[in-house]
């Protein structure tokens, strides 16, 4: 298992470099010039110097190499400096955003908590709702509960978040006035009152996201439970007199969780990247919204770094899912 994980980890490095290369070369085709906003009175040689300062004006391959060095060598050093107070990266040029002229990573670090709060909570809520629903639907297959669950999950698959979002806003913030329609990211939680406000503003985005994730997860859970409920070991467990609760919740559930856990792991990257639409509906100042604004503002280093972060997360969690699958299921041998 360790050998498998190491091999996959090493293999993922060329994959990631290849992906980053594709994205970088795509971005090279982008129209637009970061110097377009600079006044015409600025002399051309000054402009050329500004261009050099942004890392432009060199061949694409050199630029790509510089970006690689900045992301893989300088940024970790900055992180170490930040943690231990050393100064390895002093004076080195980091990846600079064209919008704000500040390091991309600093902005990303500022935005991550918002995204994590909203989307992470939604994911946890969705798992907590989806698993019992899936278990019970499978246990009582074709019952009223199962039929209703199937219908609701179908709806969850079909209604896009850019419709549920506005719908919830119309119902709960316009008509009923229960929750604010805009997520206030500057809100500080320091006492019970402010915590309640925080909860209120989180309810709607979390609901929208959790609805979709619940739909998918409960389907997987149901299918996996159904696969296991007809197995011989279940009959054995019943035959030796175990109570139904123990059979379902211990024997069957544990075995059914194996594929579901990997599905959950595979979904984690979308916590960071998949919430672009929900974040823009509720004006959550998170990573998805950052990517969107960076795209519209033609801020290529920001777009590049963010897309790459998403790719890293996807590759990493694919790897984690594979390893988890092997760890949880002793029947699976990778070697």
């Amino acid at each position: 298992m360790l050998a498998f994980a190491t091999r996959r980890l090493i293999l993922s490095i060329p994959t990631l470099i290849f992906i980053s290369f594709i994205i970088f070369m795509l971005l090279q085709l982008a129209p637009g010039d970061p110097m377009a906003q600079v006044p015409l009175t600025v002399p051309p040689e000054v402009k050329e110097k500004m261009r050099q300062a942004l890392g432009l004006g060199e061949p694409p391959l050199v630029q790509y190499w510089k970006w690689l060095v900045q992301v893989f060598w300088i940024e970790p050093q900055v992180l170490i400096d930040h943690i231990f107070g050393t100064s390895f990266a002093a004076g080195d040029l980091r990846v600079i955003s064209w919008q704000t002229r500040s390091p991309v990573m600093e902005i990303v670090i500022q935005r991550i908590p918002q995204t994590l709060w909203v989307v992470g909570v939604a994911y946890v809520v969705a798992i907590l709702i989806a698993l019992p629903i899936g278990v019970y639907s499978a246990y009582r297959q074709y019952s009223v509960f199962d039929q209703a669950g199937t219908f609701v999950t179908m709806i969850g698959f079909s209604i896009p978040p850019f419709f549920t979002g506005p719908l919830l806003i119309v119902i709960f913030s316009v008509q009923l006035g229960w929750f604010p329609s805009i997520y206030d990211t500057t809100h500080v939680v320091n006492d019970w009152e402010s915590f309640k406000v925080q909860l209120q503003q989180m309810v709607m985005p979390v609901m929208v996201l959790a609805f979709q994730i619940t739909a998918q997860l409960s389907r997987y859970m149901r299918a996996s439970m159904l696969d296991n409920l007809n197995q011989d070991y279940v009959r054995t467990a019943r035959a030796k007199g175990l109570s139904e609760a123990v059979v379902v919740n211990v024997h069957v559930l544990r075995n059914s969780m194996i594929p579901v856990v990997t599905v959950i792991a595979l979904g984690i990257p979308s916590i960071f990247g998949g919430a672009i639409i929900t974040e823009s509906v509720f004006k959550v100042n998170g990573i998805g919204q950052l990517l969107l604004t960076a795209l519209f503002a033609n801020d290529l280093p920001m777009v590049m770094t963010l897309t790459f972060i998403f790719a890293v997360l996807i590759v990493l969690f694919n790897l984690i899912a594979d390893v988890l699958y092997g760890l949880l299921d002793p029947r699976i041998r990778y070697d």
Binding site: M154, S158, I159, F162, P166, F296, A311
Partner: protein, 334 residues
């Protein structure tokens, strides 16, 4: 049947021409039903799938024929009749600004909502179908080639894995913003966006189909009938076309239904985020996006396109669900 002596005894005793009563056929056997008949019978039992088929046919006919019946230009500005409510609003609000000339009301520029819904549906359905077909084409081609030709297998599957590792939505947004200008110059503002969105959705969504098709082809190509076909000198191309493709048709059809649903949602999402078709060209996603800022006063402008998207996608999903049940011989007949 075993060759034990007991069997001989039974055979000897039932050798008489009249069978015992329980084994007698009271009526002639029904002719064997064809495969398509079986599939249709199973499909008909799935209520959701029948609803899906019915609604999808309805909405397709509506967006195809509708504009010829309701001949109002969806892009025509009629500023005197702006902000009209749908005709049914008059049921509970007699003071509402309604009129039979605008059955579903009009937007802030006086464009007719019914005409926009029809035209928007045309755009969404066209994008959905085209992207789905293109993605199926790529996915099936990659899957069949990877499954059939062992030399290309690992290369193509690594490529598929690579595409699966790409962050889809960010890349979609990226590609649309990057290639919008050149394609608009080449194909005109609407045609360019159409080509771009269809291509991008197809390029980013063919991987599941390719994986499923490859798995099936790997299993089928080891079967005897393929060996028989090869032994009488059938070429690879003909084996693929005549023997492999018909056998992988059912997973392809199921992923076609799912692909149509995702394509419609993706197109609407792009329009919603403001990177889709040009601003005067109505699509469901764009109508929704435009209406969100005014949804307190005119909730129907959010609801109409939103319900249209959701119902279409729901019906396509149910259709796919029913197809999967109907095409799976293990489930059929239960």
């Amino acid at each position: 049947m075993t060759n034990s002596p007991q069997d001989d005894v039974i055979v000897a005793s039932t050798a008489t021409p009249t069978a015992i009563e329980a084994l007698q056929d009271k009526e002639p056997l029904a002719p064997p039903s064809s495969r398509s008949r079986d599939i249709w019978d199973q499909f008909r039992k799935h209520k959701g799938a029948m609803f899906g088929l019915w609604f999808l046919t309805f909405i397709t006919l509506a967006v195809l024929i509708g504009p010829y019946i309701w001949q109002v230009d969806p892009q025509k500005l009629d500023i005197r009749n702006k902000d009209m409510r749908p005709i049914y609003t008059a049921l509970w609000d007699s003071g509402a600004k309604v009129g039979w000339n605008k059955p579903l009301g009009s937007d802030q520029l006086g464009r007719d909502n019914l005409a926009q819904i029809l035209a928007g549906g045309r755009a969404s359905m066209a994008v959905g179908w085209a992207a789905m077909l293109l993605s199926l084409l790529i996915g099936t081609a990659v899957g069949v080639v990877a499954g059939y030709f062992r030399k290309l297998d690992s290369l193509l599957m690594r490529t598929t894995d690579l595409f699966l590792a790409l962050p889809i939505l960010p890349l979609l947004l990226l590609a649309v913003t990057l290639f919008r200008q050149p394609l608009r110059v080449a194909f005109g503002p609407e045609g360019g966006m159409f080509v771009l969105i269809v291509t991008i959705i197809a390029i980013t969504s063919w991987m599941p189909t390719a994986r499923i098709v490859r798995g099936d082809v790997l299993a089928i190509k080891e079967r005897e009938f393929v060996l028989a076909a090869r032994s009488i000198g059938t070429t690879n191309g003909k084996i693929i076309r005549r023997h492999l493709l018909p056998n992988v048709l059912s997973p392809i059809m199921v992923s076609a239904a799912l692909g149509l649903a995702t394509a419609i949602i993706t197109e609407s999402a792009l329009s919603f985020l403001g990177v889709g078709f040009p601003s005067d060209f109505p699509t469901w996603g764009k109508m929704l996006a435009d209406a969100v800022v005014r949804m307190e006063r005119f909730p129907e402008r959010v609801l109409l396109p939103g319900v249209a998207i959701s119902l279409t996608v729901l019906s396509v999903n149910y259709l796919g669900d029913g197809l999967r049940d109907a095409l799976d011989p293990r489930i059929r007949g239960r």
